[in-house]
């Protein structure tokens, strides 16, 4: 069996993952990621921080199987779902892994509601109940009244929120998020962080959440990983032992917060 040793059993595990892109002018391309390994427990909220260009998006692309790894393996519930040299990728692994990408990637020719409904439509679940659910989620991310807008008629932050809703709508057990709240104002960000915590707590989702905001990483994450500059690998794996439920405003005044923050900040170089 391939289950790792620490308990509870890892839902998702990344082992010795490495990536190098084809060199532009021939010759040996540098490693973007090398020797990357970590495990995420079922229902865990993992946050990942690291310098810009360190390979965080590349890491999520490989876990979501939209890109090939050069080395290493990925396991889901102990089953190897991806390995270097795999002949073909299975993006999203049969809708088990959702991915809120760094760019919103909404379909420009579909209205906001149709974008949110898309994953349900793929499996014929865009019935009355499905539409109800899509509308509720749009309201939850503050997009009530914008259902019929096309993506080009929405602001960058609104598009980001629509892309969040369209992944939540089909309820994948694992969700990868690449800076989902990067482009938002403090107020909206706080509301969405709160909503995400609510969804996560009620559905026990397993979340891998990339962010540049250290406070956000500690406030949201059970654990925070820091990845190094290229070639990226894990340089800090920190459990954020703070009481739940949390709210970002409360977390920053908690006495345990400053040392957690300081260790993450020091690890990002």
């Amino acid at each position: 069996m391939t289950a790792p040793h620490h308990a509870p059993m890892a839902l998702l595990e990344v082992r010795d993952l490495g990536k190098r892109f084809d060199a532009a002018g021939g010759g040996d391309a540098p490693w973007v990621i090398r020797g990357m390994g970590f495990a995420v427990a079922d229902g865990e909220f993992l946050t990942v921080v690291g310098p810009s260009g360190s390979g965080k998006t590349t890491l999520l692309n490989m876990i979501a199987q939209t890109d090939h790894p050069t080395e290493g393996e990925v396991f889901l519930r102990g089953e190897r779902i991806l390995h270097a040299g795999a002949p073909r990728l299975n993006p999203g692994w049969n809708r088990q892994i959702g991915y809120v990408t760094q760019e919103d990637n909404l379909l420009p020719w579909r209205s906001a509601l149709d974008n949110v409904l898309y994953a349900l439509r793929l499996v014929g679940a865009d019935d009355a109940a499905g539409r109800e659910r899509a509308r509720d989620l749009m309201a939850a991310v503050g997009l009530a009244g914008f259902e019929d807008y096309y993506p080009h008629q929405l602001s960058g932050g609104m598009r980001k929120r629509a892309s969040l809703a369209r992944t939540l709508v089909y309820d994948p057990p694992v969700i990868l998020m690449d800076e989902p709240f990067g482009a938002l104002d403090a107020e909206t960000k706080a509301i969405l962080q709160h909503d995400l915590m609510t969804v996560w707590a009620s559905k026990r989702k397993t979340i891998v959440f990339v962010t540049h905001d250290i406070t956000e990483a500690i406030a949201l994450g059970d654990r925070t990983l820091v990845v190094s500059r290229a070639p990226a690998r894990v340089t800090l794996d920190q459990a954020n032992d703070l009481p739940r439920p949390r709210r970002a405003e409360d977390v920053i005044v908690h006495p345990a917060f400053p040392p957690l923050y300081e260790r993450v900040r020091a690890a990002i170089r």
């Binding site: 939209t66 990637n105 579909r110």
Partner: protein, 259 residues
């Protein structure tokens, strides 16, 4: 003046200037050679009233429409079929480029030899013109599809067919229409030229007949009929395009992709 009303006024002004220039030229060279706006208009109404212009225009339109109907589907579909077969595409490419490079009007005599002086030769010419123009435009559209959108719908569970219908097709529609818009005047022109060379019907035939009889006014009237046909086809294409591309920001819809 600004807005649509202002633009309409400006266009009328340009039209008036062009007509005045024509009138001046006809006065300078004599009506016999250059015709003139008024006698040409009179000839136009005469031909409309006699039914000669509408009948011939309809014949030209019919040939053009059939040519489109035959040339368009493979021009649109082939790039979609070849999307996942880069090897076949690479092998075909030089042949397609070479065939595209042949001036199609030069093929008109050959098509007449093969398909006769009836509608067949016009349809064949129009089909070959539209196929290549639309093929290369659709190919550019298929190649320009944002791969991140494809990856995103795949993650949500979309298979190859859904990728094609939900991402590749809508992303390529603007390119396909750029091709159709480019092809339209060539298509009408192709029919007319083939009719000029050999036909007993159509606007090209009318032009040829009138020129042979030195009826310059009638030649201009028939040319005006060709113009109306091209404009009408363009408006029809634009109407369909506008319906299909409602999702696009207006700045793109106005300019469109390059042909």
């Amino acid at each position: 003046m600004t807005g649509p009303a202002g633009r309409a006024f400006d266009r009328l002004l340009v039209a008036a200037l062009l007509l005045a220039g024509w009138q001046g030229a006809s006065a300078a060279w004599g009506e016999y050679w250059a015709s003139g706006p008024l006698p040409a208009a009179a000839a136009f109404w005469r031909l409309v009233a006699s039914g000669s212009l509408p009948t011939n225009a309809l014949y030209t339109l019919e040939a053009t429409a059939w040519g489109f109907a035959i040339g368009l589907p493979p021009g649109i579909l082939l790039p979609f079929l070849l999307r996942r077969h880069p090897r076949i595409r690479a092998v075909l490419d030089p042949f397609m480029v070479a065939a595209y490079g042949v001036p199609k009007l030069a093929l008109a005599p050959l098509f007449i030899v093969w398909f006769g002086i009836g509608i067949g030769s016009k349809v064949a010419l129009v089909a070959s013109v539209t196929f290549f123009i639309v093929y290369f435009n659709a190919m550019a559209g298929v190649a320009a599809v944002d791969r991140r959108l494809i990856a995103t719908v795949r993650v949500m569970g979309a298979g190859e067919w859904r990728v094609l219908t939900d991402v590749v097709w809508p992303a390529s529609v603007p390119f396909v229409f750029a091709g159709i818009r480019t092809a339209t005047p060539y298509a009408v022109g192709g029919t007319v030229v083939t009719e000029l060379i050999s036909s007993n019907r159509g606007l090209g035939h009318l032009i040829q007949l009138s020129a042979n009889r030195f009826q310059t006014n009638e030649v201009f009237a028939a040319l005006f009929g060709v113009l109306i046909l091209v404009i009408g086809c363009n408006l029809a294409v634009q109407a369909v395009e506008r319906r299909l591309l409602r999702w696009r920001p207006p700045v793109f819809a106005a300019s469109g992709a390059a042909g």
